[in-house]
């Protein structure tokens, strides 16, 4: 592999690489604002300037400049090499580049940093970006100079609503145009643009439009400063109190890799962030997915119920066990859920097997809108997973279950999940005895004779198989809310109370048992490394 020299270190590169891309792959960080690995090169922030050494025997390209001489107290003429942006400079074999080791590059970066902060408001205490802001990080790393300008800074519009999800602050903006490029290149909706020049420049929405495409939150995500903030996250939490769990978005069958940011003190999830995985979602997530974290806390079933009345977990388990013991296998249906992980569904299948129930159906959220970027029409994270788990048996759709109940052949339903893919046939559930494990309110929770509160994806480790057939592990972020428990735990308890204990108690044992019985692709694959942006 050809290499080039960066600060005395040999860095391998591939054909067509830029300096910054090759350096990033080798784990060397060159400071940058406007460059993003998933976007085109703009080279407008000038933070990544590096010194490109001339080929041997050739003179360097030098510029005439005036430099301040402290001793003489005046400007003196000097020469300075022409610096190049690392994000735009292509590499060739044997090239010699100085980044950290170049005094000129250091000086240039300090000057860029000083310029960017020239008109920046004193907003850190009220800015959501504080704690993960490039301006803060780079100020300390590059220059760390005090303010030299005594004039009033330029004032620009603040808290401008760009659309339903995004609020813009022009004073904080460094006009790196990442948001403009996200709209244009990722969402294919060039709705943002730059107006004016110099220190009057600001981002604007196209006249008559709103920033309302399906990927608006990606503009906030790529914003290296606090100029774009998400309505959803504004003033909700300070980022240094949040911890991140490596999760998988459960909003659709794409299975985008995400971070769930939660506050360990109140066990509340506050936001999702995309997690880089070039095989699935590259660097991105859609708005529906980014806002899906709300479902972790909204419309939750948090206590066991029998016939709609809140009861003790013990009583609910006994009632459910009694109903299952009385049910005959011919008239009992088992409803698997594409909303839940392989672990939960595997536990349900194991329980069904021990009772001899073999009529398997599937449920999940109704289909929705898809696109050719990330969004999948199937709004369930694990449809492929349950189909695989149930093999060789075939999963029948809920509509068939509804007609079987109406026809009187099914009298008892053991159901996992909260939603049903069809809205109009849910009344059939009234005529059957439903034992449900649901995390959210919905038709199943409403019609359940016995209802056990299941945890969501954020409260347990689980494996989800996306539409491409890739099994991905999602980590537990927060503790189970209310009296909820992961569904596989309820099922193990239920089996124990019914006198037919399953062979495992812990998740690791469950996975071992799954490894023996289920197809190998149902097991969690190793998750992709944490992304950088």
């Amino acid at each position: 592999m050809p290499t080039f020299k960066l600060d005395e270190r040999d860095i391998p590169f591939e054909q067509g690489d830029t300096v910054i891309r090759a350096a990033q792959r080798a784990g060397v960080d060159i400071p940058h604002y406007c460059w993003h690995p998933g976007l085109s090169v703009a080279a407008n922030c000038r933070m990544c300037l590096v010194e490109l050494m001339p080929p041997p025997g050739r003179p360097a390209l030098l510029l005439d400049v005036l430099a301040w001489d402290k001793e003489k107290q005046e400007y003196v003429p000097q020469k300075k090499p022409k610096l190049v942006p690392a994000c735009q400079q292509g590499v060739s074999d044997g090239m010699v580049i100085k980044s950290q080791s170049s005094g000129h590059a250091q000086q240039a970066r300090a000057a860029v940093q000083e310029l960017l902060l020239l008109n920046h408001p004193v907003d850190c205490p009220i800015c959501d970006q504080a704690g993960e802001c490039r301006l803060q990080d780079y100020w300390l790393e590059h220059g760390a100079t005090k303010k030299r300008m005594n004039d009033e800074p330029i004032h620009k519009p603040k808290a401008v609503p760009f659309g339903p999800n995004i609020v813009y602050d022009a004073e904080r903006c460094i006009v790196c145009t990442r948001c403009v490029r996200v709209s244009e290149e990722l969402a294919k909706d060039p709705v943002l643009s730059v107006r004016e020049r110099g220190n009057l420049a600001e981002i604007v929405v196209a006249p008559g439009r709103q920033l309302d495409h399906a990927y608006t939150l990606m503009t906030e995500y790529v914003c290296p400063v606090g100029a774009l903030t998400a309505v959803d996250f504004r003033f909700k939490a300070r980022v240094w109190f949040l911890r991140s769990a490596r999760t998988v978005c459960t909003g659709c069958a794409t299975g985008c890799n995400s971070f769930t940011d939660f506050d360990p003190r109140n066990q509340k999830a506050y936001r999702y962030r995309p997690r880089e995985n070039l095989a699935v979602n590259k660097y991105w997530m859609c708005d529906d997915g980014m806002l899906d974290h709300r479902r972790i806390h909204e419309q939750r079933v948090l206590a066991p119920r029998v016939s709609g009345e809140g009861v003790d977990a013990k009583i609910a388990l006994e009632k459910a066990a009694a109903a299952l013991k009385q049910a005959s296998p011919e008239s009992t249906a088992v409803l698997l859920s594409a909303e839940h992980s392989n672990e939960d569904n595997f536990a349900l299948l194991e329980l069904a097997k021990s009772f001899g129930f073999n009529q398997l159906f599937q449920s999940g959220r109704p289909a929705g809108q898809g696109d050719d970027i990330l969004r999948h029409p199937d709004k369930n994270p694990n449809t492929a997973g349950i189909v695989r788990l149930a093999k060789p048996a075939l999963l029948k759709p809920f509509a068939e279950l509804a007609s079987a109940i109406d026809g009187g052949t099914i009298k008892t339903v053991l159901a996992l999940g909260s939603s049903l893919s069809v809205a109009d046939k849910t009344d059939a559930l009234k005529r059957a005895q439903v034992i449900a494990l649901a995390s959210h309110e919905g038709p199943l929770a409403q019609h359940a004779r016995v209802l056990l509160p299941a945890s969501t994806w954020a409260e347990a480790d689980g494996t989800f198989v996306n539409a491409k057939g890739l099994a991905q592990e999602s980590e537990k972020a927060i503790a189970p809310q209310g009296q909820s428990l992961p569904a596989f735990r309820w099922l193990a308890e239920l089996a124990r109370v019914a006198g037919k204990p399953l062979g495992w108690k812990k998740l690791t044992d469950l996975r071992k048992s799954m490894a023996q019985e289920a197809p190998p692709a149902s097991l969690p694959a190793s998750t992709a490394p944490a992304g950088v942006s």
Partner: protein, 404 residues
């Protein structure tokens, strides 16, 4: 029931031949701090003693691993609460060694002056308490009165009498007050006169001398092998003082002597401390002489020093600097360092490991008292029970740093 008028020759009289186990502490007036001594006595002679520390375990080192480097200062204050300024400066010097910075000259002289005042306060407490425990109450009151003057001065400078938390990485929390030099000179003068009076009261007192001379002897070899440092080691005749052997701050530039003992008994330890008070007074005088009235007290490094408040409130650069240092903590470069200074009771070492983040990866303290207390067993074995009091007093165990 036995008749009360039983004749002596009829009764069975037998002296118990078994040694008696006596448990002193952990909460006992004769024990400085919570330490327990299980003594095996034969009559009044101690045959064997088991010294047990650990009753004051506060998890100091572990606590340090969850805050920032700056947040360690209040903890080191509480290690030796009789001379917290020496601990503050010792820890600051360790961080500065890892950062590769050194504070401005003015700060160095200021740190020396405050540190030596703290040392005097430490020695006054130890010697005063020793005298009191042997029944000489007046010298105790006088010495504590003198210590009170130091604490008043410290309060004037730092805002706190006891736990100052005044050190900072890269400087001090604030510059010397306007009246510092004048007040410090006045305090030192009064302390020296108190010490002279105490000497007159005690050094001609037969009872006091008999209780100390030849009591609690330890050989220089034993003391070194136990890792003793400070006044207790110097009382055995070994002239090891970190300030002389490995000078830090400006100790190489000041003129002072290292007093040593010869008999290495309790009396020598008492006298070494008295003499060190006088030497500290000399150092303070020279430090005040060279302490500039103006000039920077903190290093000019935005990575470690907080900006002035008006900059924090009015400029973005100041806000960012403040934010980075307060929220993330100042970052010491990844690596490890051992830095040692002369504390009140000997070599006070800090071994720091940094992983480059704002939070300490490991803070290990080498407190002088822990090693000195380890020698208590050797010092009092074979002594009379009553000799435990002056022997233990002369070692000056400080529970806070012994148990950490």
């Amino acid at each position: 029931m036995e008749p009360l008028d039983q004749e002596l020759d009829q009764a069975e009289l037998e002296m118990p031949a078994e040694p008696m186990l006596l448990n002193v502490g952990p909460a006992h007036p004769a024990m400085h701090g919570t330490v327990r001594c299980v003594m095996e006595l034969s009559g009044e002679v101690i045959h064997h003693v088991d010294v047990q520390v650990g009753y004051l375990h506060r998890g100091f080192e572990k606590m340090c691993e969850r805050g920032t480097w700056t947040q360690v200062f209040p903890y080191v204050d509480r290690c030796n609460y009789v001379s917290p300024m020496l601990n503050n400066v010792g820890f600051a010097l360790a961080c500065e060694k890892l950062l590769g910075i050194s504070v401005p000259e003015r700060c160095q002289w200021y740190r020396m002056a405050l540190g030596e005042l703290a040392r005097i306060s430490d020695h006054l407490t130890c010697d005063g308490a020793m005298a009191m425990e042997l029944g000489a109450f007046t010298p105790f009151l006088w010495m504590i009165k003198a210590r009170e003057m130091i604490w008043d001065l410290m309060e004037e400078e730092t805002g706190a009498r006891l736990t100052h938390s005044f050190g900072r990485v890269g400087g001090m929390a604030s510059p010397p007050t306007d009246g510092f030099k004048e007040q410090a000179r006045a305090v030192v003068k009064q302390i020296l006169s108190v010490v002279a009076e105490v000497e007159k009261l005690l050094l001609g007192n037969r009872i006091f001398l008999d209780r100390l001379e030849g009591v609690g002897v330890i050989s220089a070899e034993d003391a070194i092998s136990l890792g003793w440092t400070g006044p207790c080691l110097r009382a055995t005749g070994v002239p090891y003082d970190v300030r002389k052997a490995h000078p830090y701050l400006k100790y190489a530039e000041v003129d002072f002597d290292v007093p040593v003992g010869s008999a290495s008994d309790c009396f020598d330890r008492f006298m070494v401390r008295i003499e060190e008070i006088k030497q500290s007074a000399r150092i303070i005088e020279q430090s005040l002489e060279r302490l500039a009235d103006s000039g920077p007290i903190n290093v000019d490094d935005p990575r470690v020093i907080l900006p002035p408040k008006d900059e924090v409130y009015n400029t973005i650069e100041g806000t960012i600097q403040h934010f980075k240092i307060v929220m993330e903590g100042l970052k010491l470069p990844a690596g490890e360092v051992y830095s040692y200074t002369e504390g009140g009771n000997g070599e006070l070492g800090f071994y720091l490991v940094s992983d480059g983040s704002g939070t300490p990866y490991r803070v290990r303290i080498r407190p002088p008292c822990f090693l000195v207390t380890a020698g208590l067993e050797r010092v009092i074995t074979g002594q009379m029970m009553a000799d435990v009091v002056p022997s233990f007093g002369s070692l000056n165990m400080i529970g806070g740093e012994c148990d950490r």
